[in-house]
């Protein structure tokens, strides 16, 4: 009778045979990698949060194991949720990238050669972003021993069956080498510019270059930072990119955190951001605004972490009477002050800042402290004066001995809450400072002592016989 009675298939999912069957679907797959990196467990929220709350600028207000308490107070073990979930999310995104690289190669006949190359380049860029992120928490910083310590396993082919569980950790240096290989291969193949609807939410050539400044800075390779940055930063103010996607500091930092960047021709600050939408939100307890924003006035925050009065919030930029525009990105609730950079209430559709042009300028400023102090100061001043036009740095702050610290301080002010504090502490070989509040305290963690880096996920240890725990 019914010949196909036993042949059922879901109406809501696509069989793998059809996954690369048209140019539109292949583009969808590329977006799927971005979506994987952007998941709330990873770059859609938690990765930034972990990196900030490890630092000394935030104090826990809601001591909840689900919202990062043990990250904040360096009390993680290998099966703590953040350790397991972030590891899983990073590698799930890497696998998507690997599958897309293989899928585009296998179906290249459906695409123009340039488009095929561009898609593969985007996948490589994202793979590099994932590996870089994994190193920041699960491996010792490059500075420790020039990358001789154990990094993470390098998975470079798509996985979809039962084989291949065991893979050893490559060294930090090997992983950085792969990251740079991916970025260097991606750079020429990436689009110079993208259509308006994709500006800042997908990688272009300038995105890869900007990201390389961060990667080289993490490796302490200052001259390479300069080489890369020079491709997208003019020699003198006003600093901007002269080729590819227009990049320039926006006039007003509050516009940068208005919640969305896309489709705004003047949104030149976002080198890369991850979009959110009502139907593509970060998910419960992953949202930046939920952690940092206030709950009053229906702001949607849960006041999980407030600004440490003795952290960067002690800087005069945030003092009473300060006219620095970045002060307006904070709000008082009760006895504490909260960061309000991220402000969209539920379902929390703030775009995630991944790379901002301000960071590129500060990366370059830090790299030129010794080699070109005048340019370094000019870059620093550009960032400062965007938010406080009349501000003149005291001369002592700009002395050769102090300039780097001044830049690093500016970095903490400018990039507060954007996931930079922990990687910065670590690449500089510093320890994590002690911090405390009424709801708990966290000890100081000296450089490369217990708790300084995260353990490898317990699930990995259990299922990958070649893995070595930190």
């Amino acid at each position: 009778c019914k010949k196909n009675f036993l042949n059922t298939a879901p109406d809501t999912s696509l069989p793998i045979e059809d996954a690369f069957s048209s140019p539109d679907r292949i583009l969808s797959q590329v977006n799927g990698i971005y979506a994987g990196v952007k998941t709330g467990q990873f770059y859609g929220g938690r990765y930034l949060i972990y990196n900030d709350i490890r630092g000394e600028d935030f104090i826990v207000n809601k001591p909840n194991g689900v919202t990062g308490l043990d990250t904040w107070r360096f009390n993680l073990v290998s099966n703590t949720n953040e350790v397991v979930n972030l590891w899983g999310a990073i590698f799930a995104a890497i696998n998507r990238a690997n599958l897309v690289i293989e899928g585009v190669n296998a179906n290249a006949n459906l695409l123009s050669p340039a488009t095929a190359k561009q898609y593969i380049a985007e996948a490589k860029f994202l793979r590099a972003l994932c590996y870089y992120s994994a190193l920041q928490l699960y491996a010792k910083p490059y500075i420790t021993d020039n990358g001789a310590s154990l990094g993470v396993p390098l998975r470079l082919k798509g996985e979809k069956d039962l084989t291949g569980n065991d893979l050893k950790r490559s060294t930090v240096a090997e992983v950085y080498t792969q990251i740079l290989k991916d970025l260097n291969e991606a750079e020429p193949d990436l689009a110079l510019t993208l259509p308006a609807t994709s500006i800042s939410i997908r990688a272009t050539r300038n995105t890869a270059i900007a990201f390389k400044t961060r990667v080289y800075l993490s490796m302490g390779d200052l001259s390479s930072v300069v080489t890369e940055a020079n491709k997208i930063v003019t020699a003198t103010a006003p600093f901007k990119a002269t080729t590819g996607t227009p990049l320039q500091l926006e006039a007003n930092i509050t516009n940068v955190f208005s919640g969305a960047y896309v489709g705004n021709a003047t949104a030149t600050e976002a080198v890369l951001s991850f979009p959110m939408a009502d139907l593509d939100a970060p998910g419960t307890q992953n949202q930046l605004a939920y952690y940092y924003n206030v709950s009053i006035n229906q702001a949607g925050g849960n006041e999980e972490y407030f600004l440490n009065p003795s952290g960067i919030f002690a800087n005069p930029v945030f003092a009473a009477g300060s006219t620095d525009a970045r002060k307006s990105l904070t709000t008082v609730s009760g006895a504490n002050t909260y960061l309000t950079k991220f402000k969209k209430p539920s379902p929390y559709t703030d775009y995630i800042p991944v790379i901002r042009y301000a960071e590129v300028l500060l990366n370059l400023a830090e790299a030129t402290v010794v080699s070109d102090p005048a340019r370094s100061i000019a870059l620093l001043t550009a960032v400062r004066q965007r938010s406080n036009p009349g501000y003149i740095f005291p001369a002592t702050d700009l002395l050769p001995a102090n300039l780097k610290n001044t830049i690093l301080t500016e970095r903490r002010i400018e990039l507060l809450g954007e996931g930079f504090r922990s990687p910065d502490v670590m690449r500089l070989g510093a320890g994590f400072a002690a911090k405390s509040g009424t709801q708990g305290s966290a000890p100081a963690i000296p450089f490369n002592t217990a708790g300084y880096i995260w353990p490898i996920s317990a699930n990995e240890v259990q299922n990958n016989k070649l893995i070595v725990q930190n």
């Binding site: 036993l6 059922t8 879901p10 809501t12 999912s13 696509l14 069989p15 793998i16 539109d24 679907r25 969808s28 797959q29 977006n31 990698i33 979506a35 207000n61 809601k62 001591p63 194991g65 009390n75 073990v77 290998s78 099966n79 590891w87 899983g88 590698f91 995104a93 696998n95 998507r96 690997n98 599958l99 998975r155 996985e159 979809k160 291949g164 939410i201 959110m276 939408a277 009502d278 139907l279 939920y290 709950s295 009053i296 925050g301 849960n302 006041e303 539920s346 379902p347 009424t438 709801q439 000890p443 100081a444 217990a450 708790g451 699930n459 990995e460 259990q462 299922n463 893995i467 725990q469």
Partner: protein, 1030 residues
């Protein structure tokens, strides 16, 4: 010479006339039946010496005629014959002839028990059947296991067949109001429950039989005038064995002492009200209550030669002891069988039910254990020195933080005010369900019958939840509502041809059949957030945002061919075999079909002539040996596990397509090879019986969501695959005894006792361990060589009397002292040995934990005693279980040294050197010493218990009082459930499993059994009821 005999047949119990009784002359053909008044008239020949009277449900009697022309007789009802038939799938069989292993429970035993679904009442009633009630949430499905845990990753719930229809099971609710699908069936409609345990009896269900098959037969009308029965009860329920907590003054003292011990200023203070009294809140008062329940069942039944009917209606309204928890069921049933022509019978079983479940978020369902809004947890963590309400009657809340008000404390509790949640939040799950079938049966020639049956189970569920904007889950988004509607529909069409024949001493039965089944589920729903005006409490109101939620789409199909054969010679030698070929849509094209089968043999030694001549045959009147072997399957693998799938989604506003499921084209069923040997012994003609069975279930091809190294990035880090092996084996004993049988006094006893040994013998990925998580916590491991879901904790060795610090034992056997008061790197120090006092590496729960014991009971059973003295009856039902360990995770929370309230025992904390205690020195913020940070062995306890499950005292009113009103029988009774628990377990109830039946990774009931974490306790119920028969 013929003469005419007349007489009246009455029932001995009530003296009422019995219509339809067959009356015939002994040794002759023909006869008659009694009329509605019980009278008969029969012409007999002169050779007739005696009359035989027979009637379904009554013992047949033969009475000599003598010279009389009037023969009156009283027939005794035969409760044994009612249960003498077992339903073995598509056929029925006399219990005497069964050679497989089938446990039968009469519907009588479920009568009047204050439960929501029948299987809750099965505890201790059938050997080999283990029922664990997870906690006191109403209509929460019990963990129902037949002969052990028969799967690791798939459902181990038995297949439930109601009147031939495989019905939906499990918790069908999408929110906190548990909705056991079997709660839709009115227990008082059930005639019998037959549990097919071994392969020979269950193989006719093929790929779905590995967990055992439970065949439910609903009631049918019996020959005679219309009978009307009413059963009703009212009752009250209270929570039992609540853990004593610190009062306000003790809380302030303990928490401040903890702060002082780490050099922090006191932060907790008593709050004085305007009348000078102090705030003292028992949060249990806001979570638990004394609840009332009522239950009514009314049925009409009867039959004549052509038609039998059973019509029932029922209403149950049960309140739980948890505030806001209730279960309300309305149901109706019509069962009709009608002889259309001489050789054609048609019939239907049609039932409709509406069930409304309501509950707060109890934190007690799978996946909820660590919810910060779970009522079970809130009641024990909220500070007792803070009021639920302000003096002006408003809620005491810390508005900007979304938590309970501070009172005089300077540190806020993170937790919301329980009073707000129980008053303002709502969860309901309402089901509308039709379970029905219609059949036609045609006798082609004598003994050969064709039957076609079409059955359906349509289950529609309307789930609604609302969370308020003040406190709890709805706080950050300004309140919200989630509703979804799910349609589950299944049809099942089976056609069978059966043959029964008697050839001299040879009895033969055979069956062949084919069956198609199709199941479809569709769900629609959305979540709304941001209540526009606080009066809005429903999904349909005005909200700021809406996103889809609870979307479900899936289908699956079975196509099956099956057959069975029964043969016996002189009721002495038995041979049966059955076979099924199942095709399942969820498997890949080359693997759709599988073959299953089983066979059994039986030998009734007591039927041998030599035995009958033995002296012992006078005492040991029946001896039957039986054995069976077969192979069945478990196919609860979901709808599409074989397929590799990509899911469309969004990247911002752009379409995004991503890898969503690593399928497995080689996937096939789990196979369960079941062996069974047993013996049935009857003494003194059945007055005392003993059944003993030994079973061995070898399960291989275990389907496992085989964990993949997360660095592979496979979605879900798992691929469904056939790996792994496990066995369950054990003994089962059933004793039934009619100890005393007098007219005025009788005493019967029944005992079931079962043992279970489970061992996992192979797992996927080179025998990689499987961890069983209870949401955020892992306290179970499934490891080769050990029972499934063993308790897995970091070993501790008490509290160091010198320092008051918790002693941990690491994987090298070294003892470490822990103090949260020291700097991170110095928190763990060696207790003794050459490095004593030096800093030690921190405990790593994943590496240092060890197996602390098995979590599933090694033995369990029940003991029922029933006494009757004249019009009084008394029944005492005990259940017992043990040999297992329970991880009492709640105790970690009850001793946690954050702002949480603690149990009273914390007053015994270490304070002075040399003091021996099991509560470490208190250090504020310490979540490690007592087990919150990772599971620890001091929170593992024996799960042995003996429960007075049921105690009932009844009185049957004298008939003379009311027989003139047509009432035949009135019995009143008082009853208690869960009256008493004898156990060393420190928590409320050792019969507990917060992960229930869930198979979801992260809260799997099979991978993480025996966990008591933040769940509500169980209840104790008293009922008063009445049964009336007309």
């Amino acid at each position: 010479q013929d003469r005419t005999i007349t007489g009246t047949v009455t029932a001995s119990e009530d003296g009422l006339p019995l219509p339809g009784v067959s009356v015939k002359v002994k040794g002759a053909a023909g006869g008659t039946t009694t009329g509605v008044d019980g009278k008969y008239s029969l012409k007999v020949g002169n050779k007739a010496t005696a009359l035989e009277f027979s009637y379904i449900g009554f013992l047949s009697q033969t009475k000599a005629i003598g010279g009389s022309s009037v023969v009156n007789i009283q027939l005794k009802s035969d409760s044994k014959t009612l249960s003498d038939v077992v339903v073995t799938g598509y056929t029925t069989q006399s219990k005497k002839d069964v050679t497989g292993s089938i446990a039968s429970v009469s519907g009588e035993k479920l009568k009047n028990v204050p439960v929501q679904s029948f299987e809750q009442a099965l505890a201790g009633k059938a050997a080999g059947v283990n029922i664990i009630q997870p906690n006191g949430v109403l209509n929460n499905p019990p963990v129902f296991r037949v002969r052990g845990f028969n799967s690791i990753s798939l459902s181990s719930y038995p297949l439930i067949i109601v009147d031939g229809i495989p019905v939906f099971t499990g918790d069908q609710s999408a929110n906190s109001a548990a909705g056991n699908a079997l709660g839709d069936i009115n227990p008082s409609d059930i005639e019998s429950i037959d549990i097919l345990k071994d392969a020979a009896s269950s193989a006719i269900y093929g790929s779905r039989a590995a967990n055992g098959v439970v065949v439910i037969t609903t009631k049918k009308g019996k020959q005679g005038v219309t009978k009307i029965n009413y059963e009703g009860w009212v009752g009250t329920t209270k929570a039992q064995n609540l853990t004593p907590l610190l009062n306000a003054a003790e809380y302030v003292q303990i928490k401040n002492e903890a702060r002082t011990n780490i050099g922090q200023a006191p932060a907790f203070f008593l709050q004085t009200k305007s009348d000078g009294s102090q705030v003292e809140t028992n949060w249990y008062d806001y979570a638990y209550r004394t609840a009332t329940s009522q239950n009514h069942a009314l049925n009409f039944s009867g039959a004549n030669e052509k038609t039998s009917y059973y019509v029932s209606i029922g209403y149950s309204n049960q309140e739980g002891f948890i505030v806001g928890n209730s279960f309300e069921r309305k149901n109706g049933r019509v069962n009709i069988d009608h002889k259309l022509f001489k050789n054609v019978t048609i019939g239907t079983n049609f039932s409709y039910s509406n069930t409304l479940n309501r509950a707060p978020n109890t934190g007690s369902l799978p996946g909820q254990a660590f919810s910060t809004v779970g009522l079970g947890r809130l009641a024990i963590v909220l500070p007792p020195n803070v009021a639920a309400y302000n003096e002006d009657g408003s809620y005491n809340i810390n508005a900007p933080a979304g938590s309970v008000g501070l009172g005089a404390n300077t540190i806020a509790s993170n937790y919301p005010n329980a009073a707000v949640l129980v008053n303002e939040d709502k969860n309901t799950s309402e089901s509308d369900r039709i379970i029905a079938n219609a059949y036609a049966s045609i006798q082609i020639v004598k003994g050969l019958t064709f039957k076609t049956t079409y059955g359906l189970d349509n289950l529609k569920i309307d789930n609604n939840s609302f969370v308020n904007r003040l406190q709890g889950d709805g706080f950050t988004y300004g309140g919200g509502a989630t509703s979804n509607f799910v349609k589950n529909s299944r049809w099942n069409w089976s056609n069978t041809l059966s043959y029964n024949g008697l050839f001299g001493d040879h009895t033969l039965g055979a069956l062949i059949g084919a069956e198609d089944q199709y199941t479809k589920s569709l769900g629609y729903g959305a979540t709304r957030q941001g209540v526009i005006d606080p009066f809005i409490k429903v999904f349909q109101g005005a909200f700021g945002a809406i996103t889809p939620a609870g979307l479900i789409q899936g289908d699956n199909a079975f196509r099956s061919y099956f057959g069975s054969i029964n043969y016996d010679y002189k009721k002495k030698y038995y041979l049966t075999g059955s076979f099924r070929r199942d095709g399942y849509s969820g498997l890949s094209a080359n693997n759709k079909y599988g073959n299953f089968g089983g066979a059994s043999v039986g030998y009734a030694i007591s039927e041998e002539n030599f035995y009958k001549n033995l002296g012992i045959s006078k005492v040991l009147t029946r001896v039957k040996l039986h054995g069976s072997y077969g192979e069945v399957g478990n196919i609860n693998i979901g709808n599409y596990p074989a397929l590799f799938l990509y899911n469309p989604g969004l990247y911002g506003l752009s379409p995004a397509l991503s890898f969503a499921q690593a399928g497995n084209p080689n996937l096939t069923w789990e196979t369960s090879k079941k062996a069974d040997v047993g013996i049935n012994l009857e003494f003194l003609g059945g007055r005392f019986s003993l059944d003993v069975d030994y079973y061995h279930n070898n399960i291989d091809n275990l389907v496992q969501n085989a964990p993949q190294a997360p660095s592979k990035g496979v979605p879900g880090n798992a691929i469904t695959t056939n790996v792994g092996k496990m066995y369950n084996k054990g003994f089962e004993f059933t004793v039934n005894s009619r100890n005393i049988e007098h007219d005025d006094f009788s005493w019967t006893t029944s005992l079931t006792f079962s043992t279970l040994k489970n061992e996992v013998t192979a797992l996927g990925n080179n025998n990689a361990d499987l961890f069983g998580a209870t949401s955020l916590e892992t306290a179970n491991i499934t490891r080769v060589g050990y029972p499934i879901g063993s308790i897995y904790t970091v070993p501790t060795a008490g509290v160091d009397p010198a320092t008051g610090e918790r002693i941990f034992v690491n994987r090298f056997g070294q003892k470490l002292r822990f103090s949260f008061a020291r700097a991170t790197a110095a928190r763990y120090q060696y207790l003794d040995g050459p490095n004593a006092g030096q800093n030690a590496p921190a405990i790593d729960a994943a590496l240092d934990a060890t197996i602390t014991g098995q979590s599933i009971p090694k033995w369990f059973g029940g003991l029922d005693n029933n006494f009757r003295y004249k019009a009084f009856d008394l029944s005492l039902g005990l259940t017992f279980s043990g040999g297992n360990k329970i991880y009492y995770g709640s105790l970690a929370g009850l001793r946690d040294q954050r702002f949480w309230n603690n149990e009273k025992d914390v007053l015994n904390r270490w304070t002075t050197p040399g003091q021996v205690t099991d509560i470490p020195r208190l250090v504020y913020g310490d979540n490690t010493s007592n087990g919150s940070a990772f599971a620890q062995s001091q929170n593992v306890f024996s799960g042995n218990f003996l429960k007075v499950r049921n105690l009932a005292l009844g009185y049957t009113l004298p008939k003379t009082l009311f027989s003139k009103y047509g009432v035949s029988n009135i019995r009143v009774y008082a009853q208690s459930s869960n009256l008493w628990i004898i156990s060393n377990y420190p928590g409320p109830d050792p019969e507990v499993s917060v992960n229930g039946n869930s198979t979801t990774t992260g809260n799997s009931g099979n991978l993480a059994p025996g966990v008591d974490r933040n769940s509500v306790p169980s209840g104790r119920t008293f009922t008063f009821g009445i049964n009336v028969g007309f």
